[in-house]
């Protein structure tokens, strides 16, 4: 009997402990809820301040967040829009004429091929008709090769390797091999002086993993025809980046060579800027606010500003350079100079450095509104 009493007492004690536990858990939950409400309050205040500042910047004539175009680096020329509409409705001859009108301006030729290739990656009935009607048209082959690359990258997606499926990798490779065939065909058909069919092979070499030796041979084909096509240098730099087939050192070396090869106005001074930017993106332990202030990067930015001034606004690559300059000037605390670039590019942010961010708009607005805020008295 005594044993039972003891047992009862033990159990009662257990029940007391249990109920006490329940009480504390309830209390903790109530406190948590209170913290939650407080946090929401603070966030609301912060958001309100941010919105106020954004509104003030917009009042100065800058584009509001909702109206930012994340597809294009600069306003799309009306001519291009008309041509894209025409090809989509089946008039491939409009597309052919548009690309051919660029003549021997190879940079402009690539600037015109890419939007057509992007359109064809969605619907290529017109491109197939073009290829069928003019089987030996080098321009059609060039657009076809660039389209095949677009499709291959669409299949692969932009996720890292571990989040890309076997099906995606296999198809990516197969499609690039096919794109390579088309690029080689374009090389056979094209004017021997035309570097663009070799430029189009650059991303293929990058995706298929050409050896350094093979890629240098391809590069020789490009620069042998024209050493100053900005497009080919930007594309080549990607290959030499650590995330593809090179390293920070190789990428910077390539970019410096490019910059040295260009005369003022060729905009090749953009390449070192991209190399530094790629390095900062790739290295988690580099902080933008210190790294971009290194003297050699400040000097590179100064050189690019001179280059830009010499080019005027005629060069098709101006917008790309201004975007990169705006971002680096912002990090170098040269906010007034940054704002000058922001005024030129504002509204169109479909390119690096913004496109590398998870939210391009946030990165752009953060830099722009900061620079504008610092350089505008009273804001």
């Amino acid at each position: 009997m005594i044993g039972l009493y003891i047992l009862g007492a033990v159990l009662l004690f257990g029940a007391f402990k249990f109920l006490r536990g329940v009480y504390y858990i309830r209390k903790a939950k109530a406190l948590e809820a209170e913290i939650g409400t407080l946090n929401t309050g603070t966030e609301a205040v912060k958001a309100e301040r941010k919105a106020e500042k954004a509104a003030a910047v917009v009042a100065l004539g800058f584009v509001a967040e909702a109206d930012l175009d994340t597809e294009n680096p600069a306003p799309v020329p009306p001519e291009r829009t008309a041509v894209l509409d025409a090809v989509r409705s089946g008039d491939w001859e409009a597309g052919a004429a548009y690309v051919e009108a660029a003549g021997k301006n190879w940079q402009e030729r690539m600037e015109r091929v890419r939007p057509l290739a992007e359109a064809a990656a969605e619907d290529d009935a017109w491109l197939l008709a073009w290829r069928a009607a003019r089987p030996s048209d080098p321009t059609a082959a060039l657009v076809d090769a660039d389209t095949a690359i677009m499709v291959a990258w669409n299949v692969r997606g932009s996720q890292s390797g571990s989040r890309t499926t076997q099906e995606q990798f296999r198809l990516f490779r197969e499609l690039l091999v096919k794109a390579q065939e088309v690029a080689h065909e374009a090389q056979r058909l094209a004017d021997p002086a035309d570097p663009t069919p070799y430029i189009v092979e650059q991303p293929i070499g990058q995706g298929l993993g050409y050896s350094h030796e093979r890629y240098r041979e391809l590069w020789a084909q490009v620069v042998g025809r024209d050493p100053k096509v900005l497009w080919s240098h930007i594309s080549g730099l990607q290959y030499w980046c650590r995330k593809w087939r090179g390293s920070h050192e190789l990428a910077l070396g390539f970019a410096r060579e490019s910059a040295a090869a260009g005369a003022p106005g060729d905009l090749l001074s953009l390449l070192p800027l991209i190399a530094y930017f790629e390095q900062e993106t790739d290295e988690d332990d580099l902080a933008a606010e210190t790294f971009f202030k290194e003297p050699e990067i400040v000097a590179a930015v100064d050189a690019a500003l001179l280059d830009l001034a010499a080019a005027g606004d005629d060069h098709p690559g101006t917008a790309r350079l201004r975007h990169m300059l705006a971002y680096l000037l912002f990090w170098q605390d040269r906010d007034e100079q940054a704002v000058e670039q922001f005024r030129h590019i504002d509204g169109y942010i479909g390119c690096v450095p913004w496109s590398y961010a998870g939210s391009p708009k946030s990165r752009y607005l953060y830099a722009r509104d900061w620079a504008v805020g610092v350089s505008t008295p009273g804001l």
Partner: protein, 532 residues
Amino acid sequence: MGASLRALRALVLLAGFYLLGVFLLAALGGIDYAVVTTLHGPIVAKLLLASVVLTVPIVRGMFMLRTPKGEPPAGVTVGEAQEPELWAAVRDVAQQVGTRAPDEIVLIDEVNAAVAEDAKLLGLRPGTRRLYLGLPLMTGLDEMQLRAVLAHEMGHYANFDTRLTPLIARGRAQLIRTIGYFHERADKKVAKERAKQERKDEKRIAKGKKAKGVDTAGEGAMYRAMAKVYIAYGNFYMRATRSTSRRQELAADLASVRVAGRDSAASALRELNALDSAHDFYMSSYATLGVGAGLLPRPGEVFGGLRRLLDARSADLDELRRELSTEPTSPYDSHPALAERVARIEALPDDGRAGQAARPALELLADAGASLAALEQVVLTPEALALKRVDWEDLVHESMTAYVGQGAEDIRETFAAEGAGPGLGAVLDAFDADPAVRWRIADRFPKSEEAQAATGRTAREFGRPVVRRALNQLVSVELTARGAARWQLSWSDSASLRYPADGFEDRLRQALDAAVADAPDTEPLRKLVLAP
């Protein structure tokens, strides 16, 4: 520790299990008493009911006294007159180990050798001793390795290990079963609660509210708590018996080294590791390959074909012989990890018996082929024995043809749903008439998430390999039906289709590419496959 002392300890530990049950029941009774005397109202009935429910698994655990007797493995019992050499080898090993030879030898179909004894009086008096010997095991070992395995098994008897095993095993089984009951009941309760909450959530969603989500964290806690008491005792039990078990295993390994030599003993263990997976793979991919098509290999080959596989894939198996598991097979297994056992044996000094010549273990049998065939009669079901027996080459060709044909039926239906088919010729006609039909067909096959999200030419590129693969299967069926291609058996690789001529495979690949190209050209495929 002597045999009787170990028996005493096993008895005490088993008694502890029952004592635990009695104590828990008493505790529940005490709670009930306290509840009845102190509380009033409906809560009393509820608490009483809860305690009664909790007693069920305890009582069941206590009264399930019989350890479940596993069916003895089916096999062919062979007498000394039938298999004199095998018997001589077994007697020789038993004598060297210092134990009584088995009374019976039973040939079975596993990669295993085991000695069992119907011991009486809690294992203190000897009974009939049987050696179960797997023919697949003998297939993979040479004679010395087999002697090593036999010596290990009989070594347990020499140390009087196994007489007590029933007692230890009973205590262990009882504990595991009781813990199982509690977990099972707790899981059931959680499942019930989950179903209830999910129904509630559905209702909330139906009413346009947000689902609360399912939370079953607290459910079945009482059952789990009870299981914990038993698990704690179980861990104590295992700790108390494990060191002895491990010592016994290592002692048995030493016996096998004495009998067969260091290198044979170690290589036998390595071989066992490889043999197990090889046998599983052989049974599923070769021996029973034809079952779905109503076919079995010739008598004696159902188990006998393993030899061919072992010969053809010895390079692959070498890896399994090298890479041994460092994990024990289960937390309740008394065997130390294989890697540890082999390492201990190989660390022994050289006994000068390395490289001793030994014949394949199967040669101990008077007629291995006849024994393998006889085993089939005992082990296979009547349905399996009624299957048609064919040569390996025909088995592979006929069953692969049947399976690929069955798979092609679904493909044909899918094609026909878009108006393409049923024959290969009609499919190609449909491609020519409307090339876009191919992408509509591709849409009907299962797709990955990425393929589903794709649009335009990208979607087409995801679809192209799908159509190509399906078309290839239709072509395979057509070619085998015409007798132009034949499925080829390979002991070292998977079965493959052998085409009529050299270079045919290349031409076929190009023809398939042309048929699924943006501008289709079906002519090459027609010429290659459909031309008479």
